[in-house]
């Protein structure tokens, strides 16, 4: 009986000691984890993240306001100003992301290289499309096939580029629709640019007339309709071309090529010249 009691006591003591050790281990583990977590997520770090995000957002808003005013007050240099906008914005974003990484992880050079290598592989698979778009955006900014304010035609969407972002480009069409095109699609497609950074752009106006018209008379009317338009850029030449068409009905196609003073008034210019020409044609009995 005594032996049994001794064994039981020994057992309880061993168990109690083992439990004590386990509790000690668990306690030390928890303490370690908490200490590591406090190292990674401190109040200072959280505050820094919040401040950086708020500051970046504020700078972005301030930049929008600043560029908007610049465009308003220096209209003649509108396109040059807008050209700077995406570059400055990307720089601000880059700076913000850099600050966050440094604040949160403070990585060593080796860690950065290792991270770059592994993340390149991971990103290559996981974020393939996004990376394509981001690099597309960077290529658009560096290669400059078009700028904000240019009138481009891409994938059948013709309109004014209103924003070049990191992932996509936004075009406002003549019907006032906003088309968002991924940058990766833009760099792999052909783009036609009507003004290439200039404020004015060429407008091609087609007029259809009977086949037997007096071209000298028509040339005079159409040329004067163009040169008297308020929207004409008078510093650029006006060209008038004639073509005969025999498809369904025989007709003379008159093509007027002239520059509008500001690409934004492209359709107003086209409408003005067409309307004036038509009125003059009716007055001169061209259609009869």
């Amino acid at each position: 009986m005594k032996r049994i009691l001794n064994l039981l006591f020994l057992g309880i003591c061993t168990l109690s000691f083992a439990q004590k050790e386990t509790v000690k281990n668990v306690k030390s583990n928890v303490e370690n984890t908490i200490s590591t977590a406090t190292d990674v997520i401190s109040i200072t770090k959280i505050l820094t993240i919040v401040v950086v995000i708020i500051l970046t957002w504020g700078i972005m808003k301030l930049l929008d306001w600043f560029f908007k005013n610049l465009v308003k007050n220096f209209n003649r240099h509108r396109l040059k100003i807008l050209r700077l906008q995406p570059i400055v914005k990307i720089l601000v974003w880059t700076l913000a992301i850099y600050t966050l990484i440094i604040t949160l992880f403070n990585p060593s050079a080796e860690a950065v290289y290792a991270l770059m290598g592994s993340s390149a592989l991971a990103l290559g698979f996981a974020l393939q499309d996004i990376v394509k778009n981001v690099f597309g955006g960077l290529l658009i900014i560096l290669d400059r096939p078009f700028q904000i304010g240019d009138r481009i035609n891409i994938k059948g969407n013709y309109g004014e580029v209103i924003n070049i972002g990191l992932r996509n480009t936004i075009v406002s069409t003549l019907d006032d629709n906003t088309v968002t095109i991924p940058n990766s699609a833009i760099i792999s497609d052909s783009i036609s640019n009507a003004n290439s950074g200039a404020l004015d752009c060429m407008v091609v106006i087609n007029l259809w007339l009977p086949i037997d018209v007096d071209v000298t008379q028509i040339r005079k009317i159409v040329e004067e309709a163009a040169i008297t338009s308020r929207y004409l850029n008078i510093d650029r030449p006006v060209t008038i071309l004639f073509f005969d068409h025999f498809d369904d009905h025989a007709a003379t196609k008159v093509v007027v090529k002239a520059y509008v003073l500001d690409a934004r008034y492209e359709k107003l210019f086209e409408g003005d010249v067409t309307e004036t020409s038509k009125k003059a044609f009716i007055e001169a009995n061209i259609y009869n």
Binding site: F66, L70, N75, R76, D200, I234, D235, L261, D262, E275
Partner: protein, 394 residues
């Protein structure tokens, strides 16, 4: 440009950059209320009129020399002359005063629009004292070449011969043909305003018709000052402190004696006058007239005026102003034709521009109202058109 001017223009640029309004208008209204009504005999001294005599013409020696040379050239090569000038720059004075070169010159001032062939033929026949009647410019041309000897015609404001519409250039183009056909018999001196020249040269290559072109140069600051002092002869000028002054100048004014103070204020007044007029004599006279604050017996108190900043103008208003620049002046009907606007639309815009004092109205010879650019805002509006309408006009 002095350091102070650089600071001022820098401040103005910063205002523009950050879209801050420069509040000048309030001070003008306040001053206008305080300002005394000036006596007529003083104001008459500032009437704008063309000078007829070479002796009174200031700082135009170079231009007169060009006119003399061009006349000699015509005798050999029969080339007509074009004189390009800004409103108020003294183009009419130059042409009138140049008649000492060709005393028998006949001057045709086109104060109203010449929009028909009949009007032009009647004017030219009257000018040349031809009693026969003509149905076309061709008939007049034949008559001139057969019957006239050597004549000199000064035709002012050729821009009145066209209107910006389809078929609106026919008269001008036919007149140019007439001019070329009669240039052996007539020495043609034509004048045109700068903006019309810019437009017609771009769309109709006007300059190519004139081997000799004289561009009027800005009058020097010394001559502008002497002109203003001449107009104030008999009066003692007392210069008042401008509404806006830098604190540095304010401090300087407090430190110096009364005489030195007047000298400094005179310097400030003329500096602002030169800056405003940019060599345009009529603008300088207008500035001096508007700066006369009060007249007491034979003393004039002069306080430099502040020119108000032009508010944002609608695109249509800018097109109206441009049309006025191109034609020198336009009636409502002409404006409707030029801009393809409705009558109501044009009237509303005109009222707006009149209220802002950017344009002035006056009755033409035939009694209809015509509108033209207010000389005070000439350069400001030109800059605005250049900026907003992408015009490469200098």
């Amino acid at each position: 440009m002095s350091f102070l001017d650089k600071i001022k223009s820098g401040t103005s640029f910063l205002y523009k950059l950050f879209d801050i309004d420069e509040k000048n208008e309030v001070s003008i209204i306040k001053e206008a209320e305080e300002k005394k009504v000036l006596p007529n005999d003083y104001l008459e001294r500032f009437t704008l009129y063309p000078i007829q005599n070479k002796e009174f013409l200031k700082n135009r020696e170079e231009e007169l020399k060009s006119l003399e040379l061009s006349y000699e050239n015509w005798k050999i090569a029969n080339s007509p002359l074009l004189v390009v000038n800004d409103p108020g720059e003294g183009g009419t004075s130059l042409l009138h005063a140049s008649t000492y070169i060709y005393p028998s010159a006949k001057i045709l001032e086109t104060k109203a629009t010449i929009d028909t062939y009949d009007k032009l033929i009647a004017l030219l026949s009257k000018l040349l004292r031809i009693e026969d009647s003509f149905n076309s410019l061709k008939e007049l041309e034949i008559y001139i070449n057969q019957n006239l000897e050597s004549e000199v015609i000064i035709l002012e404001n050729i821009e009145r011969l066209f209107i910006r519409r389809v078929k609106g250039f026919d008269l001008l183009e036919d007149f140019l043909l007439f001019l070329h056909a009669t240039k052996t018999k007539i020495y043609w001196i034509i004048s045109i305003n700068k903006y019309s020249f810019y437009y017609l040269n771009r769309v109709k290559f006007l300059a190519s018709h004139f081997p000799s072109i004289v561009h009027l140069k800005p009058i020097s600051n010394e001559h502008l000052k002497s002109e203003i002092l001449d107009r104030n002869k008999g009066y003692k000028l007392v210069y008042l402190k401008p509404t806006k002054l830098s604190s540095k100048v304010e401090k300087q004014l407090k430190k110096i004696s009364k005489e030195e103070r007047q000298e400094l204020l005179e310097k400030i007044f003329f500096k602002q006058l030169f800056l405003f007029s940019k060599g345009n004599i009529s603008k300088a006279i207008l500035y001096a007239r508007n700066s006369a604050y009060n007249v007491k017996e034979k003393t004039v108190f002069v306080k430099p005026i502040q020119i108000k900043v032009i508010d944002d103008l609608a695109l249509n208003d800018l097109f109206i102003l441009e049309a006025m620049f191109q034609h020198r002046s336009l009636s409502i009907d002409e404006l409707n034709i030029v801009l393809r606007n409705s009558d109501r639309q044009s009237r509303l815009s005109i009222e707006k521009l009149l209220e802002k004092q950017l344009i002035r109205q006056r009755a033409s010879i035939n009694g209809r109202l015509e509108y033209r650019i207010n000389l005070i805002y000439l350069n400001l509006l030109k800059d605005l058109l250049r900026e907003r309408l992408n015009r490469n006009f200098r």
